[in-house]
C-alpha cells in the first residue's frame, strides 16, 4: 500500500518559490491501476518522482508498505528504488549499447542477482512482453518504439517491484501500440498484483485506469473520486 500525507514540494525559482505539489494526501491500495492526469505543469511528474524516491518532498510523508520513504538514508533510497519501484519512461531510456536482454538484466545486477539467474529471468520477462527470438539480442537502435517500450516494461518488472511508475508510457507511440502497452501494464497489475501508477494526459489511457487522480496547480482535486466514477 502507498500513502501520501500532506506532501508538498517547492522549488526556488528566481526571486520567488514555486510550489509544484501542494499538500497532496492520497492512498493507493496494492494492485491498483491508477492514472494521474493534469495539464502540463500541474505537478504530475514531480509527484511521481517523489513516490519513486527520485526526489524528496519539502514537507509531508510518503509511506510505502508502512515505511516512510522520506526518512530513508541515501543507501536505503538506492535499495528502495532497486527493489520496490519499477520505472517506465516516455522515451524508454534504454542503455543504447546493451541488448534487450542486457537492459533487462541491469536492475537485477544492481541488487546482486547471479548472472545465469538474471539472464533466465530477463528472457522470461521479454517473452512475457512478447519479445522473442532475435529481438532479445537486438540493441535499442534497431527496435521500434513499441518494442523498446516493451523492453522498458520488462526492465521495470525485473526485480518484482510492488509499484510501477510510468510517466507518459505511450506518449511516443501510435494509438494501437499505445493501447497494447497500456493493456500490458493493466494485465500486470491484475496478474502480478503490482500497483501501477501512470502519469498521462491521454483520456483514453485514463479511461482504462481503476482510479483517476487529477492534479491542478499542484493540488489534488477534491472531485477526483467522483471523476473516477465519471470516467468509468
Amino acid at each position: 500500500m502507498l500513502e501520501a500525507r500532506e506532501v508538498t514540494k517547492s522549488f526556488r525559482s528566481g526571486d520567488g518559490t514555486v510550489t509544484a505539489v501542494n499538500d497532496v494526501t492520497m492512498t493507493i491500495a496494492g494492485g491498483e491501476f491508477i492514472a494521474i492526469v493534469g495539464r502540463s505543469g500541474s505537478g504530475k511528474t514531480t509527484l511521481m518522482n517523489m513516490l519513486g524516491a527520485l526526489e524528496q518532498p519539502t514537507s509531508g510523508m510518503i509511506f510505502v508498505d508502512g515505511q516512510d520513504i522520506t526518512q530513508l538514508s541515501p543507501g536505503e533510497l538506492v535499495h528502495y528504488r532497486g527493489r520496490k519501484i519499477g520505472f517506465v519512461f516516455q522515451s524508454y531510456n534504454l542503455v543504447p549499447n546493451l541488448t534487450s536482454t542486457e537492459n533487462v538484466m541491469l536492475p537485477m545486477e544492481f541488487i546482486g542477482v547471479g548472472k545465469s539467474e538474471r539472464r533466465t529471468r530477463a528472457r522470461q520477462l521479454l517473452e512475457q512482453v512478447e519479445l522473442t527470438g532475435a529481438k532479445q539480442q537486438r540493441k535499442p537502435g534497431r527496435m521500434s518504439g513499441g518494442e523498446q517500450q516493451r523492453v522498458a516494461i520488462a526492465r521495470a518488472l525485473a526485480n518484482k517491484p510492488s509499484i510501477i511508475l510510468a510517466d507518459e508510457p505511450a506518449g511516443n507511440l501510435d494509438s494501437q501500440t499505445s493501447s497494447t502497452i497500456i493493456e500490458l501494464l493493466r494485465g500486470l497489475s491484475r496478474s502480478e498484483g503490482t500497483t501501477v501508477i501512470v502519469v498521462t494526459h491521454d483520456a483514453t489511457i485514463a479511461y482504462q485506469a481503476d482510479r483517476v487522480l487529477q492534479l491542478e496547480d499542484g493540488r489534488l482535486l477534491p472531485s477526483t473520486q467522483a471523476a473516477d466514477e465519471d470516467v468509468r
Binding site: T45, N49, G52, H79, R81, F87, L106, P107
Partner: protein, 422 residues
C-alpha cells in the same frame, strides 16, 4: 555484465572518439615516457661519470700535469708535506721515461731515454716507462683501468729488475711471464702482463719506482704523483690545500672541474626531461579529464536512469572509472611503443643540443681529453623494467586523477533530472 564490463564496452562505444582519445593520450604518455627514459639515462650517465672521476688529485710540473717531461723533475722532499694534508689517504709517486726501440735513431738525447729491445705496438717510435710506488694504479700509465692478465703485480718498493708489460707489447715482442728484455743496458724480467683501456697505457712498461730511478739515474726525483683523497666530497677542498702547500712548484689538477662543467650540462638535460615529464603527465590528466567530463555530461540522462533503476553511485563511478582506465591503458600501449621507438633518438638530441659535447673536449690530467669525459655524449637510452613500471604508475595516476573529478560529477547528478528531461 558487470560495471567493469560495461565500462570497457563503453570505451569502444564511439569508435572515432575512442581512436582520437587514445592517440592524443598515447602522444602525451609517449612524451612522458620518452622524458622518463631520457631522465633515467642521463642520471645513470652522471652517476657513472662521477664514479669514474675517482677521488684522486694529480700533481705534476707546471706545463706537464702528469705526463712525460724531460730535465727538471719534482723531488720527493717537495711532495713530502702533501702526505700530512687533511683528507689525503695515499700518494702514488711516479717517474716517467721514454725509451727508443733498438735500431731507431733519436732526434734528441734526453737523459731519461735509452734504447730497448722492445718493438712498440703503434707507429710511435717510443716505448714508455713508468716507475710507480703503486704499479697497479692505472693513472700512472695515463689510463683509467689496469687489469693484470697473467703473473703477479710488482711491488712499488721492490728493487728487483722486474717489470709489467701490456698484453699488446707482450704479443708484439713474444714476451710472457718470466721472459726478459733489455732497457737502459739492463735486463728486466716480465713478472706480469696487464691490459689497460687506452693506447698510451698499452705502450707503457711499468716498474717499481726504485727500479726506474736506478735505471735512469734520477734518485729522489719523480715526474708526477697521484694523491688519493678519502672521499669525492673532500676532493675540491683537498685539491685546494695541496695547491696552496706546493705553490708554483707544481701543477695540481683533479678531474672534478672538467666533470662539473660537463655534468652541469647533463643536469640541465635531466631538469628539462623532468619538467617535460611532469608537463606531459599533467597534459594527459587534463586531456582525459576533459574527455571524461564531456562523456559524463553527454550521458547525464543515462546516469540518472541507472540511478532510478537502482544503481548506486559507487557502481556507476566504477563503470566510468573503468572506461577512463581503458582509455589510459590503450593510450599507455600507444605511448610505450612510441617511447621505445623514439626514446634513444630524443635522448641523444636532448644531450647533443645541451652543450655537453663541447665540454667533452677539455683536457684531462695527461693533457689529452679526459677518458671519462670523452664518452659523455655517448648515452645509451635503455628501456628497463624500472622505467616501464614508472610509466605504468604515471598512467594509473592519470586515470585516477581524471576519474576523481568525473566521479564527483556523477555523485552530484540527481536521478530526477533525467526524468524531468522527458
Amino acid at each position: 555484465m558487470t560495471a567493469v564490463g560495461r565500462g570497457i564496452r563503453n570505451a569502444f562505444r564511439n569508435a572515432v572518439r575512442m581512436i582520437s582519445v587514445v592517440l592524443i593520450l598515447g602522444l602525451a604518455i609517449g612524451l612522458s615516457f620518452v622524458m622518463l627514459i631520457a631522465s633515467h639515462s642521463v642520471a645513470a650517465k652522471v652517476a657513472t661519470t662521477l664514479s669514474a672521476i675517482g677521488n684522486t688529485v694529480n700533481i705534476g710540473l707546471p706545463g706537464y700535469p702528469t705526463g712525460l717531461q724531460l730535465g727538471k723533475q719534482l723531488t720527493i722532499a717537495e711532495l713530502a708535506p702533501v702526505a700530512h694534508i687533511h683528507g689525503v689517504t695515499s700518494i702514488d709517486e711516479i717517474l716517467s721515461a721514454a725509451a727508443q726501440p733498438r735500431g731507431k735513431t733519436q732526434n734528441a738525447a734526453p737523459s731519461a731515454s735509452a734504447r730497448t729491445s722492445l718493438r712498440p705496438v703503434n707507429l710511435s717510435p717510443a716505448v714508455y716507462f713508468s716507475g710507480s710506488t703503486q704499479p697497479t694504479n692505472p693513472v700512472s700509465i695515463g689510463a683509467s683501468a689496469l687489469r693484470i692478465v697473467s703473473g703477479h703485480a710488482i711491488s712499488g718498493t721492490s728493487p728487483a729488475n722486474s717489470a709489467m708489460v701490456s698484453a699488446a707489447l707482450a704479443h708484439q715482442n713474444g714476451l710472457k711471464v718470466g721472459s726478459t728484455f733489455t732497457a737502459y743496458g739492463k735486463t728486466l724480467t716480465v713478472t706480469a702482463i696487464f691490459d689497460s683501456d687506452n693506447q698510451s697505457g698499452n705502450d707503457t712498461v711499468v716498474t717499481s719506482l726504485p727500479v726506474l730511478e736506478r735505471l735512469t739515474g734520477g734518485t729522489d726525483q719523480v715526474s708526477s704523483a697521484v694523491v688519493t683523497v678519502a672521499s669525492l666530497g673532500e676532493l675540491a677542498a683537498t685539491t685546494s690545500a695541496i695547491e696552496h702547500d706546493l705553490g708554483p712548484v707544481a701543477s695540481v689538477t683533479s678531474n672534478l672541474a672538467d666533470a662539473s662543467e660537463a655534468i652541469g650540462d647533463l643536469d640541465s638535460v635531466q631538469s628539462i626531461a623532468l619538467y617535460s615529464l611532469i608537463g606531459a603527465v599533467a597534459a594527459a590528466v587534463v586531456i582525459l579529464f576533459l574527455v571524461m567530463v564531456m562523456i559524463v555530461r553527454e550521458r547525464k540522462r543515462e546516469i540518472g536512469i541507472l540511478k532510478a533503476i537502482g544503481a548506486s553511485n559507487r557502481r556507476i563511478m566504477a563503470q566510468f572509472t573503468t572506461e577512463a582506465a581503458t582509455f589510459t591503458l590503450l593510450g599507455l600501449v600507444v605511448g610505450l611503443i612510441a617511447g621505445i621507438v623514439t626514446g634513444s633518438t630524443v635522448t641523444s638530441a636532448l644531450v647533443s643540443h645541451s652543450g655537453v659535447s663541447s665540454a667533452t673536449g677539455s683536457a684531462g690530467p695527461s693533457g689529452a681529453p679526459s677518458q671519462f669525459l670523452s664518452h659523455l655524449t655517448d648515452i645509451n637510452a635503455q628501456v628497463g623494467w624500472g622505467v616501464i613500471v614508472y610509466a605504468v604508475a604515471a598512467a594509473v595516476i592519470v586515470a585516477v586523477l581524471a576519474s576523481a573529478a568525473t566521479t564527483w560529477m556523477i555523485g552530484r547528478i540527481q536521478p530526477a533530472e533525467a526524468v524531468r528531461n522527458e
